[in-house]
Symmetry: C2
Subunit: 211 residues, 2 copies
DNA sequence: TAGATTGTTAATCGATTAACAATC
DNA sequence: TAGATTGTTAATCGATTAACAATC
């Protein structure tokens, strides 16, 4: 009946954002009640897996009825930590960094972008959606002062480990890493990778080994 | 001794790009020989898992010696289909589309960007690294004519399914999807998703459920 | 040859699915 | 109440790890 979240396997956790997305869609469509069977048909998970997954966090459903969409959506938002607020910085302000800075949806879920950083003099001093781009030399001072929770690394891979070290030293709790490298950080620092080329290579594999 | 690639589990396949990365690094460092034990220490997989993984595709090692880095790297490139060449288009030429267009590394591995598409008149007619941005109305004609293999969707989610339908109709084999939505496509079309917000939400979860 | 390390089988572990009693 | 659907236990399936004979 809701075990300690620490015990929950990553397999389950990685499915949570998908529940979040589908429940949001249902709410937008003004569907207020859903069964695991219906969710199963929509999402492609088995109904059994859905009930197992959700029951890790609590008994959100009701026998004979199913789940209240609004309530379940709220619970999953809480579980994912989307009710909180986070200060973030982006390091590396090229196209990718700017793309993320411009993705306003993240603001909506509590991820507040405080600043971007770069080494390129053409970028330093610019603003991206009102957020300033600073010289990377100012990174550490800024983080110390502003209580940044999440550092987002969008630099080329050569610089990524050095930036990670600086972020950790200045006290960020988590790094969202877009550089194609596995960063070495202390155990208590959370790393979430988006390895674009890994993803493209898997697509390539599948394309070459179809059916 | 190399089973049919179709039988290999996605768990194994999703590890392949990481092998590819580490072997590339070793080659760059002029390391020409490696054992599963050494790889294990570097990559954080067990030596046993590494040998199992590689043996799905063939016996690339040698008892008492280990693996020839150059050979193994070559094999994995072949397995991933990185010796071939692919025609790609990007649909949605905002920051994210441009970021991907500018990532020259993809060219290096055989992913040739033929064109970008957008609806924004300010973008149409531009060139990004010599690649033109066309009106999205020209998408279908272009794909039909140029034999495009991979469509890359970088549009907002509202347009993604419609674009996917058009890509499929025009005959692409695979879609690399960056829109935060699960696309519905025929079975034989390969979809690889990069759900940035899913990734960020997982980071958020981990941040809230540490230790 | 002796030592090292693979390829591969067997054992274990974990995740998914099936089944059903509880209950709304 | 009867029907529906959950929460949860048990069974199955698949993936990882351990062990070791084969062999370089």
């Amino acid at each position: 009946m809701g075990k300690n979240h620490k015990d929950i396997s990553m397999a389950v956790i990685r499915r949570l954002p998908k529940y979040h997305r589908y429940l949001k869609d249902l709410l937008d469509k003004e569907v207020y009640r859903i069964s695991s069977k219906e969710l199963s048909a929509m999402m492609g998970f088995t109904a059994s897996q859905i009930r197992q997954d959700l029951n890790n966090f609590g008994g959100f459903g009701q026998q004979g009825y199913g789940y209240n969409v609004e309530e379940l959506y709220g619970e999953i938002q809480k579980i994912l930590g989307l009710m909180a607020s986070y200060n973030t910085v982006i390091v590396g302000s090229g196209n990718l960094g700017q793309a993320i800075a411009n993705y306003t949806n993240f603001q909506k879920y509590g991820f507040k972008l405080m600043a971007l950083f770069d080494t390129n003099p053409k970028l330093i001093g610019m603003k991206i959606r009102d957020v300033p781009v600073f010289d990377i030399d100012e990174l550490q001072g800024f983080i110390d002062e502003k209580q940044v929770d999440i550092g987002i690394i969008c630099t080329p891979k050569e610089f990524a480990q050095d930036i990670a070290d600086k972020l950790v030293k200045s006290g960020v709790s988590a790094i969202w890493n877009f550089a194609p490298i596995d960063l070495k950080v202390p155990e208590d620092i959370i790393i979430e990778n988006v390895h674009l080329s890994d993803s493209l290579f898997i697509l390539s594999y599948l394309l070459n080994n179809q059916e």
